[in-house]
Amino acid sequence: MKHRRYSIATAMVTAFTILIVAVTLVINARSYENNRRQLQSVATDYTNQLISQVNSQMDMYVDYLKDLSNFIVRNSAVTAYLRDSSQQEAVSAILSHAATTRDEIFAIALAAADGRVLFDDPSYRLNPYATYQNAGWFQTAVAQPDQVHISTSRVENLVEGQYPWVISLSQAITDSQGNLLGVLLVDLRYDIITDICASVDLGNRGYLFLVDSSGAILWHPKQKLLNAGLLQEHMEAVGREDSQPLTIDDEKGQRLYFSHRSQSTGWTVVGVAYAEELQEPQSELFRQYLIIDAVAVGAALVLSILISRAITTPLRKLTAIMQSVEGGDFTVRSDIRSGSEVTQLSDTFNHMIGTIQDLMAEQKRTEEQKRETEWALLQAQIKPHFLYNTLDSIIWMSHAGRNEEVVEMTQALAQLLRTSIGRGEDIITLREEVSHVESYLTIQKMRYREKLRYELDVEPDTLDCRLPKLVLQPLVENAIYHGIKVKEDGGSIRVTSMLDEDQLIITVEDDGSGMTPDQLAHILEPKESDEGSSKIGVYNVHERLQMYFGSQFGLKFFSEPDRGTTAMLILPRLTEETEERDHALS
């Protein structure tokens, strides 16, 4: 599996954005759903209310006409006219007066059983070809005489030359014996229904239609299309009595059918509302939520970018500085001061570079010191004075003809020089070091004669120990020049070696003049002057040992005035094997 590594910034931007978008969407979705439900129930309630209003308006209207009809029917003049055509004037006036109360009344006609018809409007003439006794309004009224009957929409052909669409109310008039005298007809212009129904606003596409008690459509805004059979209405919506609308979903879109039946007329008002339009405020709501979401997402994006920049910019700066440090420039420092964590990092980094810089300076200094020490060592080894003196001694002995001594001294000098220069190795065995010191002592012995006595008491198991070269000779030299040479009767030097656990201890004892406590205290301090070169040598040895092995190793001096001095070399026990192991380790 391949791991893609994203930058902190990308990770943060992505995480923030996803988080905020998710939270926004969840909250908004819930809130939207709640509001949507509320709006929907409001829309449904409103539509229901609207339709029941239409219904009650129509009821009121029809009730009024029923009252009117009842009023006319009970009038004694009307009965009288139907019986014997008397009081025609009065009845005419009653009809015409009743008709003027409502503009929508097309005609009020009193049709006697014997064929006489009296209209409210004297200009109306009876259509002689109208066979009204066969018409539905007449027959239903006769069949049920004590009711006001409401017809479905129909063409009225009673008035000559006119064929209006009307809705008719008819009521039979009988005498006290129950014999039919006639029928009162109130024709209502169909337009009144159009006026009532078309004025209802159910949205741009929503509409009302009216169904009569027989289930026929009484009014429909697209009546012509229905009549032509080009449109079918969903009649199954009619007669549902619960207030929940019927949902129809077809190619014309989702529509809700609200149906209300009127008790007074027996008609059912059906309101058809397009779900889309009912949901118009919901769409608006949705749009608003969408905008809020978009703004939130945008803000989230901008914020997360800003925050991630605030974090990554100093980090990137720091990286650049680190890279220049990596390139070797230790003088640069980070000056970032933004956000406590990054500042802390920056400070720590600065501190670290400082330490590294100090360490490097220290190392440089040590290196230089080491070089100087080595140079001094070289100088100490081959002291010109010692060489002149030795050569002078050889010349003098040659003149004196002491050839054996000349050979011996020259051999010793040669040996001394050979060891000093050596094979270029810094670390040699104690055996070699001791042989070097022996050569030196041989030469000095020949110079100082009886004044110098010496003893080399080296333990055999220390002979193979290894140590930095030329550490012993300066101590011996120091013992001769500062201990024995100044004493009248000379002195003796004793060199011993022993092993103490992991340490190799070599001592150089003399019984010379010794040192004062003051001298002793300063013996291991560096000397600038050339006052006593052997002292430089002693310091040099101490320095070298400490440099090689650390501060717990080096030189120790014990001295009492007129009693002598003991120099003690403390070294780690190094054999050939341990050295090899160290090499292998390093």
């Binding site: 931007v13 070809y129 129909r154 063409v155 012509k224 080009l230 978009a294 997402v297 945008g298």
Partner: protein, 319 residues
């Protein structure tokens, strides 16, 4: 900048979403239809109903219809000129009510060549270039006229009046009527008379015939003009109800004559349906849907007995 792509991407998404939201349900290109009538001046109820049907279809189907026509039904040259003008406006389709079966063939082909679908309504042209012909089956109307006449009489001389010997409706109705009447050998057709859709001409013809054939038993009238003229002449001469009159089309006067018994039957077309269907078929053709070569609008036979049926009164007395 590293995030620019991301930001741009997200912003574009948001924008696209909003735009899609705002403009869904945007208006597609509306189908443009030109209706070329025989005449825009004549105010027959029939054509008023046709135009009602056209208007309903416009509303229902969301198309656009412009109505043009010549000054009179017989102005064939003028209708050809009107067609030329209409072709120049590059509509998607033309609904043509041809005033001449043959003379409008060339201009129809011209329109089709210009990439305009031509649909004929009521009166056809003599070419297959038009996509469909929306009409009642005029031959069937003719046969119904003949059949209705034979319902009322079984012998005697009868006359046939037509409004045109050029337009397909006139030609085919007469043909159908003659075929139906031929089935009854006792019925003798005295002749086919063309009134050129003029009521005065028709009345004059009717008077002449009554004079020439005093024993005339019936009239077959191929349209409203002939029908009314005949009914009027018979009423004037006190002959209402004594002769059998069958006619076509639907008008208030025809209904009154029907009530009075002067006219025995009328075969009514459904002009509202015709106007609607013509626009509907035109829209279909433009949208690449297939339509039959003939779109029939059924006819209804109305008599005195069934005229106040709830269905028939809706046809006779349109709102």
């Amino acid at each position: 900048m590293r995030y620019r792509k991301l930001i741009v991407c997200l912003l574009l998404c948001a924008l696209a979403g909003l735009l899609a939201f705002r403009f869904t349900g945007g208006q597609e290109n509306r189908v443009r239809i030109a209706l070329v009538l025989k005449t825009t001046v004549e105010t027959a109820e029939f054509w008023g109903e046709v135009l009602d049907g056209v208007d309903s279809a416009v509303e229902e189907l969301g198309v656009e219809v412009t109505v043009t026509g010549s000054d009179s039904e017989s102005a064939v040259d003028q209708q050809i000129a009107v067609m030329e003008d209409v072709i120049a406006t590059r509509p998607d389709a033309i609904i043509l009510v041809a005033s001449d079966y043959d003379r409008l063939v060339d201009v129809t082909r011209e329109a089709v060549a210009a990439g305009i679908d031509v649909i004929t309504m009521d009166s056809d042209v003599n070419t297959d270039a038009r996509t469909t012909f929306v009409a009642s089956d005029n031959y069937q109307i003719g046969r119904s006229l003949g059949a209705q006449l034979l319902e009322n009489l079984d012998s005697g001389p009868v006359a046939v009046l037509t409004h045109s010997t050029y337009s397909s409706s006139g030609i085919q109705r007469v043909e159908g009527a003659l075929d139906a009447l031929a089935e009854c050998p006792d019925v003798e057709v005295v002749g086919v008379y063309d009134c050129e859709n003029n009521r005065d001409n028709a009345a004059a013809i009717a008077r002449d015939l009554l004079e020439e054939y005093p024993d005339l038993r019936g009239f077959v009238c191929a349209n409203e003009v002939c029908n009314l003229a005949v009914a009027q002449v018979l009423t004037e001469q006190g002959l209402g109800g004594q002769l059998t009159v069958v006619g076509c089309d639907n008008s208030r006067q025809q209904i009154q004559y029907l009530e009075q018994g002067v006219i025995q039957s009328i075969i009514i077309q459904q002009p509202f349906n015709m106007g609607y269907a013509a626009v509907e078929q035109a829209a279909r053709v433009v949208r690449g849907q297939s339509v039959p070569a003939f779109t029939e609008i059924p006819c209804v036979t109305i008599t005195q007995d069934n005229m106040y049926n709830s269905d028939n009164q809706k046809l006779l007395f349109p709102f």
